[in-house]
Amino acid sequence: MSVREFAERGADLELVGIQKRFPGFTAIEELNLTIPAGSFFALLGPSGCGKTTTLRLVAGLEEPTTGRILIGGKDVTDTKSHERPVNTVFQSYALFPHMTVIENVAFGLKRRRIGDALGKAHEALRLVELDHLAQRKPQQLSGGQQQRVALARAIVNRPALLLLDEPLGALDLKLRRQMQLELKSIQEEVGLTFLHVTHDQEEAMTMADTVAVMNKGAIEQMGAPEQLYELPRTSFVANFLGQSNLFTGQVVSTTSSAISVDAAGTRIVVPTSRAQRHQGEVTVGVRPEKVTLHTESPGEMPDRNLLGPGRIIDVSFSGVSTQYIVDIPGGGAVVVFAQNVGYGPVAVVGAEVWVSWAVDHGFGLADEPGETGRFPADDSTTSIAVQRREALISELEEH
């Protein structure tokens, strides 16, 4: 695909066997990924998980240690950044401060010697409704406006693939919501392939057709947002996307349709189609909003799991919903989200309650949650490398 042509529509992206090692640590272990043309794809993960590195590899700003990158079927691993039909919207926008807005937007077109660069640049600015500020300098614009200029500067080149590196991070909440919708509509209108990197799971789920959750340099799970959310495969995904109640125990019986796990002082039933493992010690879970709070013992419910009685140890009101934390003997703290259909919380701290959820809403994970202290572990690839190195050093010193 020649850089000189505008892409008619977006192209496929394929990453095959990508590994990226920096001196001292490995940012990406083994990455295999296919993004279909014309889709909005989100790469989601905590800081240091390797998502920005992946983006830079696709943009050509870094070279992979091993592996190949294919855009539209063509191997671009060895082409330089300025020869790839890929454009990036940078996290800091990176608008050239010494050029006006229109010069910024026209920059790529001029480098490719596209005719009527300024005309096309104005068109792109009209798309983001900023044409009236074309002669201003970037510093004279607000954060939201700068972000739109950065978008226009990338889109005007009609790249086969548009990369967005946490572009909404610096905006306040309302503006961010607005921009999420705008980005999505522009992508659908222009038909480009978008690769969006973010640590904000709500953002990823709102905007993307497909989400890939990355952790410690590898993709843990990939799929449509609802799929990932309703059926997480690993404890990391279960805890990173939204919240989960997790229970670990032994599988005591299996049928063709469900497994029964001995956890939280009782039996928890999970459909086999929603459980990754069917024997031994497994971890099962359910989302807090799927759990119902009962102020009186509800009795036997055939298709529901029931835990309790327990005591409420915390009530948090947050406008739309109220979060209850219930201490179930043998099950730990169970989180319940209840929508505030009435006024005020349904129960108070110390009240005796039961919790239940539909069996079909539970899920079984492929692994177990790790030991968590009071604060989340530092999981960035750099700190992992530093810890390993220090462990090695202390080991060597012992001899």
């Binding site: 850089v3 943009a59 050509g60 700003l61 330089k80 950044s81 300025h82 020869e83 890929v86 454009n87 990036t88 940078f90 996290q91 800091s92 990176a94 608008l95 050239f96 401060p97 010494h98 920059f107 790529g108 480098r111 490719r112 201003r136 300098k137 510093q139 004279q140 614009l141 607000s142 500067r153 990338a154 080149n157």
Partner: protein, 299 residues
Amino acid sequence: MSGEVQAAAVLGGFTESETQEDNAPGGIPRRRRIGLGDWLLPVYTVLAFVFLLIPIVYTFVFSFNDSIKSNISWRGFTFDKWLNVCNVEGGAVCQAFTNSIIIGLVATVIATVLGTMIAIALVRYRFRARSAISLLLFLPMATPEVVLGAGLAAQFLAVGVPKDMTTIILAHTMFCISFVVVTVKARVSSLDPALEEAGRDLYGSPSQVFWRVTFPLLTPGILAAALLSFALSFDDFIITNFNSGSVSTFPKYIYISASRGIPAEANVIASAVFLFALVLVVAAQVSRAARAKRLAKLG
């Protein structure tokens, strides 16, 4: 270093365009109720400035002195010296001044070009012998001028090169390079690498990215380095003294005349240079502040 060494730090700030953030990086001291202790520092500062400026005022005032030979005692106020600057001593003062300007310009151009190239290489590229080169750049700044001057003079002597304008220019360029490197390097280091990445991302070849993105953003730093270099060269005495032979520069002229009496015309030139530089710098600062204010309003 008989010149404006850290003017680099300050000039770097002066010539920066409004692209740099002007806000204090570390928080602004909060307002408290004004107590006695709060007056101490401002008063001290004012007194300190008065102290710093006394010789300047003295020099300026005495440029109006109706002196004959030596300019030591006040004889009367006159504009004569300002109007007929080059008349005294067969125009020696003006000749010295002109020499200083020429030397300054040539040395500045060479030092700025060479120094900028080194600064870019140091920040952006990996190469062996980095520490050796860093040391080589650091040493001229750490070496007393006497040593620099004497060494170069000994060298010229050994090779048999006569001392004239050329040797002065060569000497000045030498000690200016390090300062240029330091100033430009600071500027290169403060460039957001994302800007150049954006340039590459937007189909700019390496040379296009350099000339259209990097270089324009470096201009304030290069300008500051050039100004610093010129200032250092213009005011240099010690190294010049060793390497000039019979050529006169402005500082050298002053030194030589010190024993028999410096004519008021020297004061005139010095005061003129001072006022020119002062106006330039203050204007730059005020215009920068005005631009920053305008930008803040628009956003």
